[in-house]
């Protein structure tokens, strides 16, 4: 150790020795150490993947073997260092899986139920149609932050106790809660209604004359025609669920295993930002979580544009 007076202070040079006891050979070792004051590295007893250690001995985590592991070190850390306290599984992968699961389920329910409701509202005559549609429009105007107060309670009580029939006392912290409360959005129904309204009446009439029931007409004739809006709806719903933040934040609070990716990222920020901000893994996680929608966007640009103009009509 050497101290030299320097401009406006003191430059201290430390010399230390690294002993690699792991199995991986650290051949060329690029190092990036930020050493907090009065830090004892020697006695760091916690394993590197323990969240409690983050922010205390973070600098050691940057030691990596070779250039590539160094460059992508933060990405590896995101997966390696976030472990579930209860199951010991890697959290980040779980979060990605959860988000995928939620997004896919929501896409499926939305496609089915939105086209059903959209078709009924667009092409069938029944009592209360105008009223239901007006109600739909009204519901699109009221912000989510108004109704979530009651929705939270509804899920807490298991939808008026109905979930008890399945042996589940509360739907908070469950995917069932998220799925049931988000079966189908009003705007998706609106999009499908707009589409079905534009189809010519002759399509339906000939089938009706042959005596086909409403269900046959819907499933055999109308639904196959609805591929373009269903495609747009798939992309938009997937993106919407993948990015959803507010409602999952309310419903899923613990355990960390069940978080979707957005809430997981918030968790990540808290973990790595606890002492001093360790931005590497936070930004790596951020990038990974943005990747699917970016890919979707590049592949299906047109749908995104349509989507805005669709949601634009809701105003």
């Amino acid at each position: 150790m050497k101290r030299e007076p320097a401009e406006g202070g003191l430059t201290t040079t430390y010399r230390f020795r690294l002993v690699n006891t792991g199995e991986v050979a650290l051949d060329p070792v690029p190092m990036d150490l930020t050493v907090p004051m009065r830090q004892q590295f020697v006695s760091a007893t916690l394993a590197p993947n323990r969240i409690e250690r983050l922010g205390r001995a973070q600098s050691w985590n940057n030691v990596s073997a070779g250039l590539l592991p160094y460059v992508f070190g933060n990405y590896a850390r995101v997966f390696r260092e976030n472990y579930s306290a209860s199951t010991g599984k890697g959290l980040f992968l779980l979060w990605i899986r959860n988000s995928f699961f939620l997004a896919v389920t929501r896409v499926i329910t939305t496609l089915i139920f939105a086209s059903m409701a959209g078709y009924a509202l667009a092409r069938l005559n029944f009592r209360g149609k105008q009223g239901i549609f007006a109600f739909l429009l009204f519901s699109m105007m009221i912000p989510q932050q108004v109704t979530f107060i009651s929705n939270y309670l509804v899920l807490r009580d298991g939808i008026f106790g109905l979930s008890r029939l399945f042996g589940v006392p509360t739907l908070l912290n469950t995917y069932a809660g998220l799925i049931v409360s988000g079966l189908v959005g009003a705007s998706s129904v609106f999009i499908m209604k707009q589409f079905f309204e534009r189809l010519p009446a002759s399509l339906e009439e000939s089938a009706r004359i042959d005596g086909a029931s409403t269900y046959t007409v819907f499933f055999r004739i109308m639904l196959p025609l609805a591929k373009p809006p269903l495609g747009a709806l798939t992309i938009l719903t997937f993106q919407g669920v993948w990015n959803e933040f507010f409602w999952p934040l309310v419903v899923i609070t613990s355990p960390a295993d069940r978080f979707p990716l957005t809430i997981g990222l918030l968790n990540l920020q808290r973990a790595y930002g606890a002492a001093t901000f360790d931005w590497g893994p936070i930004l790596a996680g951020t990038f990974i979580s943005a990747l699917p929608v970016i890919i979707l966007f590049i592949a299906f640009q047109q749908y995104f544009v349509e989507g805005i103009s669709f949601s634009g009509t809701k105003g």
């Binding site: 009651s150 309670l153 634009g312």
Partner: protein
């Protein structure tokens, strides 16, 4: 020809098809809305039974300093962000409506921040606005090289203007923004600036690193506005929010611009209109409905701002960033107190009312516009 036995089934069919949607609509919207209205007249802590208190909550929220702050923050945020993002979206759209090679790439690139989730962009934003972050670094660098940048801009503009004036004097048809002149101007400006540095006429200034604290501060800006000035952390969120939402509206404008029939431009060209005249007298009236749409969506969206505040968390003082939506949330899930559902509901009703007024006003205006068109 229909069989009699299926008649009942046919009658019920619409309701069967609508059932799942009606379920979510009634339970998670209708019931929820009515219940929030009811809660707003009660005191309730999520556990014991709600107690009817009449209008007390509505009086109390106005006595709550947090609520008035949230109200002020939300409204400031709404006005500033909506105005700025509408203007920027329009300018971007005009810029990207060019028929230039690779314009699709630029459109996609500009739209990118709008695709990612609010958590993603907010985390990047927090990183960007750190005390030793990217933004402060860029500002520092800009201050250091200020003189050189100014010299470059000045030289480039001067060359460009001289060339344009020269051509005009010789009565040659030339656009004010002739690209080849612009290129020449930039090139010569660069050479001049580079030379000035190389031969020591200008040196980067020594400036202390810019040290603006963006989040952890209760300061407000700008000073001359007095009590109307907004807190700096909120200003940071505004800057960022404009950047992420303007592209969405840019796409709407772009679609509108491409809907304008070519004949209009051609007719204008015949009449000798150019530049600003085209924008003012042809494009602007055609884009009016879209502008109304963009403004309404902007107003409603900004009024609901929540994610940024929640993700920022304890990094910024609560009073500087709290919004209506966050006020509702934090009253329902306070970190260390009994949940105040009544207060939250009253505030929620307030938010709903504000949204409603905006939508209604827009309908009124848009309706009248529609008749004129």
């Amino acid at each position: 020809m229909r069989r009699a036995s299926s008649k009942v089934g046919e009658k019920l069919a619409p309701y069967v098809l609508l059932a799942p949607f009606l379920f979510t609509l009634i339970v998670f919207f209708g019931y929820a809305f009515v219940r929030v209205v009811y809660f707003s007249f009660t005191t309730y802590d999520l556990f014991s039974k709600p107690e009817w208190v009449g209008l007390k909550n509505y009086v109390n929220i106005f006595r709550d300093l947090d609520f008035t702050r949230a109200m002020k923050n939300s409204l400031t945020f709404m006005v500033v962000v909506t105005t700025a993002q509408t203007i920027i979206a329009l300018l971007l759209a005009l810029l990207l409506n060019q028929k230039v090679r690779g314009i699709r790439f630029f459109r996609a690139a500009y739209y990118m921040p709008s695709v990612a989730s609010s958590v993603v962009v907010t985390l990047i934003f927090i990183w960007f606005f750190q005390r030793r972050g990217v933004l402060n670094f860029v500002i520092t660098k800009f201050k250091e090289y200020q003189a050189i940048i100014l010299l470059f801009l000045f030289a480039a503009a001067a060359i460009h203007i001289v060339l344009v004036v020269w051509e005009k004097l010789r009565r040659r048809p030339v656009s004010v923004f002739e690209p080849s002149f612009m290129f020449l101007g930039v090139l010569i400006g660069f050479i001049v600036a580079f030379g000035a540095v190389r031969f020591g006429f200008l040196v980067p200034r020594e400036v202390p690193p810019v040290d603006i604290i963006w989040f952890n501060t209760t300061k407000t800006w700008p000073d001359f506005l007095g009590s109307l000035a907004f807190p700096i952390p909120l200003g940071a969120i505004m800057l960022f929010n404009i950047w992420t939402t303007a592209p969405t509206f840019m796409l709407l404008y772009l679609a509108g611009l491409q809907d304008i029939p070519r004949e209009l431009y051609e007719a204008a060209a015949v009449d000798g209109a150019e530049g600003w005249h085209i924008i003012l007298h042809i494009i602007a009236p055609q884009l009016k409905p879209i502008t109304f749409l963009v403004v309404t969506m902007g107003l409603i969206g900004t009024l609901q701002m929540f994610d940024q505040v929640a993700i920022l968390g304890s990094q910024a003082p609560r009073s500087s960033v709290i919004t209506l939506a966050y006020y509702i949330y934090s009253n329902l899930f306070p970190s260390s107190a009994v949940p105040r559902v009544g207060m939250a509901s009253a505030a929620a009703m307030f938010l709903a009312l504000l949204t409603f007024i905006i939508v209604y006003a827009q309908r009124k205006v848009l309706g009248e516009e529609g008749e004129n068109a």
